[in-house]
């Protein structure tokens, strides 16, 4: 490294200059060669970006929620419509997440362990909810099950409502959150291959036993990760639910919808109070995700190393 100082002529009478120059040279990253200044700028920009678009909004949510004090916060949350919205959100998540676990497991199992015609088409279909706008997803259900929809008259005749009722909200939520579990599992299961299952079969295990005792333990962390993401999206979904819900207070409003209604009525602090619950959910999800990633790094998809 001292050879790189060829251009630097430092008089012997000022040894402190030589030391300082040497220190700057030493601080340069040995491999990539960027100076400490460039590194500082990059880090600074990133922090600024995160602060502006992530940290600041979250902080504002909590600040505004508690602006009128803790009792007002509590009152906003225990108000009947808010309670109904929270309850509905929890109910929808409680149905959508297990449903997607079942669908996701089945789809990942079929795709990773078998060859069949139409497999790549199925994989494309699974990604569809990601590429379709949530509003379009909601509209799709309205066109199918709404009063003027394809199944509208049949549903009406049987006194069963899907649109503007809870079933519609559940369906729309299942649609938009479907890929989360499936995609996490497919990547991992394809990586793991079928060898472990073949071993179990050769030792005499049946299909279900093999699934429960060999496949599931191998994918449990990826499954948990997928469930986490699925849940976060299920509770926070706005667009698709907004289209199918009908916004009937106390009946078909989920938390995100309730926040919108409160905000439109200029009930700002109540809106932020409900929003703070969603923000809290986001934070908890992030924390659990980080814990999972750091503790079980090699069992998560994308980081899986086959053995």
């Amino acid at each position: 490294m001292s050879d790189a100082a060829a251009g630097l002529t430092t008089p012997i009478e000022e040894p402190w200059l030589a030391t300082k120059a040497a220190n700057v040279r030493r601080a340069r990253s040995p491999v990539t060669g960027e100076g400490p200044i460039l590194a500082g700028v990059l880090i600074g920009v990133t922090i600024l970006f995160l602060a502006l678009f992530l940290i600041l909004p979250l902080a504002v949510v909590f600040y505004e929620a508690f602006r009128n004090g803790a009792s007002a916060y509590w009152a906003a949350l225990t108000e009947p419509d808010a309670r109904a919205a929270i309850g509905l959100t929890l109910l929808v998540a409680a149905i959508a997440v297990p449903a997607n676990i079942v669908f996701g497991l089945a789809a990942a199992w079929a795709i990773a362990k078998f060859r069949f015609p139409g497999k790549s088409f199925l994989i494309t279909l699974i990604d569809l909810p990601f590429s379709v706008s949530p509003v379009v997803a909601g509209l799709m259900y309205v066109l199918l099950f709404g009063a003027q929809g394809m199944f509208g008259p049949w549903l009406k005749a049987h006194h069963f409502s899907i649109i503007f009722a809870t079933p519609g909200i559940v369906l729309a939520t299942i649609f938009v959150t479907f890929p989360f579990v499936a995609r996490e599992l497919i990547a991992l299961m394809e990586d793991q291959g079928t060898t472990d299952e073949e071993v179990a079969l050769s030792l005499g295990a049946g299909g279900i036993t093999t699934f429960l005792r060999v496949t599931l333990p191998n994918i449990k962390w990826a499954l948990l990760y997928g469930v986490l993401l699925c849940n976060a999206r299920a509770m926070g979904e706005f667009g698709a639910v907004s289209v199918v819900s009908g916004h009937i207070r106390g009946l078909t409003n989920t938390m995100p919808l309730q926040v919108e209604i409160l905000y439109n009525e200029y009930n700002i602090s109540a809106a932020f109070a409900v929003a703070s619950l969603l923000a809290l959910l986001a934070l908890v999800t992030l924390v659990v995700k980080s814990v999972l990633e750091s503790r079980f790094n090699d069992a998560l998809p994308g980081k899986a190393r086959g053995h």
């Binding site: 060898t195 073949e198 071993v199 179990a200 079969l201 050769s202 030792l203 005499g204 295990a205 049946g206």
Partner: protein, 355 residues
């Protein structure tokens, strides 16, 4: 338990050529048979078909007198050891070995203490006592392989099927495990079929070797038969080392160029009376320096050290393809030297035969 594969053919969906082409194999009860051949030759496919992990396009598999072709892999009761061992990472060594017994139906499952006892007994057999509580991630490659073997033995299989069991291990461990497997086989007496592309392993371990290439069996025989009396040019060039000389057959006599080569009668393999072909000679079957009526002219191309002896690359009768010869280390030949050589043994194959 005698195993018979009869006329097995297998073409995978979307493949241009067959993986197996009418292969038949009989393994006697208690025999240790090696399936040997280059990659893609069909050995693993045949092993998996015998196990029931793949279904053949046509052909049958018999376990003893019973037609096992329609049976599932569970019903065949085989012990399969995969190349990658595939130990269950979330279970301990003991739980891995006990797996086959744990998953049995309640009616056939031994009590827990019995399962534990058997698992520990097997761990003793494979010399891994004391490691019962470890996880696979904490074991070395050789240890994992032995756990995989113990796991396969736990279900008292009718036949042991090993797919390149020592492929992923380093040379020293491989050699140790080879002799260990031989001892284990002598002790337990299971009918065993193993797949390998390492001919030293096959020749050292097996009672009989089946050489597969391109989905066909080229030859089945004892290691001596395969080495000393190769049936086809492929077997000759795959097993051991052999150089090939252009030669032709006339009136039942093999000629290299204009010189007749006297071969011991047993090593002359011909199906016709005349034609062009190749004479395969092993490095240890050529002698340099003895002039005589049988000798051919050769030129030394290069010489190198090979362990305790030297290897000379020579060109016989000015042919383009060179042949290697073992020479004693006491004599040093120089490149460019013209020497007489005598061929002691060789195998002649007409062009078109074999490969």
């Amino acid at each position: 338990m005698q195993i018979r594969a009869v006329d097995i053919a297998k073409t995978f969906a979307g493949a241009s050529r067959a993986a197996l082409n009418g292969v038949s194999l009989t393994v006697g009860s208690g025999e240790l048979v090696a399936l040997l051949g280059p990659s893609g030759g069909g050995k693993t496919t045949l092993l998996r078909i015998i196990a029931g992990l793949d279904i053949p396009t046509s052909g049958k598999v018999f376990f003893g007198d019973e037609d096992a072709s329609q049976k599932t892999v569970q019903e065949r009761r085989v012990g399969f050891v995969f190349q990658s061992y595939a130990l269950f990472k979330h279970l301990t060594v003991e739980e891995n070995v006990a797996f086959g017994l744990d998953v049995r139906d309640r009616a056939l499952r031994p009590p827990k203490e019995e399962i534990r006892r058997r698992a520990l007994e097997l761990l003793d057999l494979v010399q891994l006592s004391g490691l019962a509580g470890r996880r696979p991630g904490q074991l070395s490659g050789g240890q994992r392989q032995r756990v995989a073997l113990a796991r396969a033995l736990a279900v008292e299989p009718r036949v042991l099927l090993l797919d390149e069991p020592f492929g992923a291990l380093d040379a020293k461990v491989r050699r140790e495990l080879r002799s260990w497997l031989r001892e284990l086989h002598a002790q337990t007496g299971h009918t065993t079929i193993f797949v390998t592309h390492d001919q030293d392993e096959a020749l050292e371990l097996a009672d009989r070797v089946a050489v597969l290439n391109g989905g066909r069996i080229e030859q089945i025989g004892t290691p001596d038969e395969i080495y000393d009396h190769p049936a086809t040019a492929f077997v000759n060039s795959f097993i051991g080392e052999a150089g090939a000389l252009q030669a032709h057959l006339r009136n039942g006599q093999v000629y290299v160029g204009a010189h007749p080569v006297t071969l011991p009668a047993a090593s002359k393999q011909t199906s016709g009376a005349a034609g062009e072909g190749r004479l395969f000679v092993r490095p240890q079957d050529i002698v340099i320096g003895e002039a005589g009526p049988d000798s051919l002219r050769a030129e030394i191309i290069s010489v190198r050290r090979s362990g305790p002896t030297r290897r000379a690359e020579i060109s016989i009768d000015a042919q383009t393809a060179n042949v290697e010869v073992d020479t004693p280390s006491s004599v040093v030949y120089r490149p460019g030297e013209q020497v007489p050589v005598r061929i002691l043994r060789g195998a002649f194959f007409l062009n078109g035969e074999g490969i």
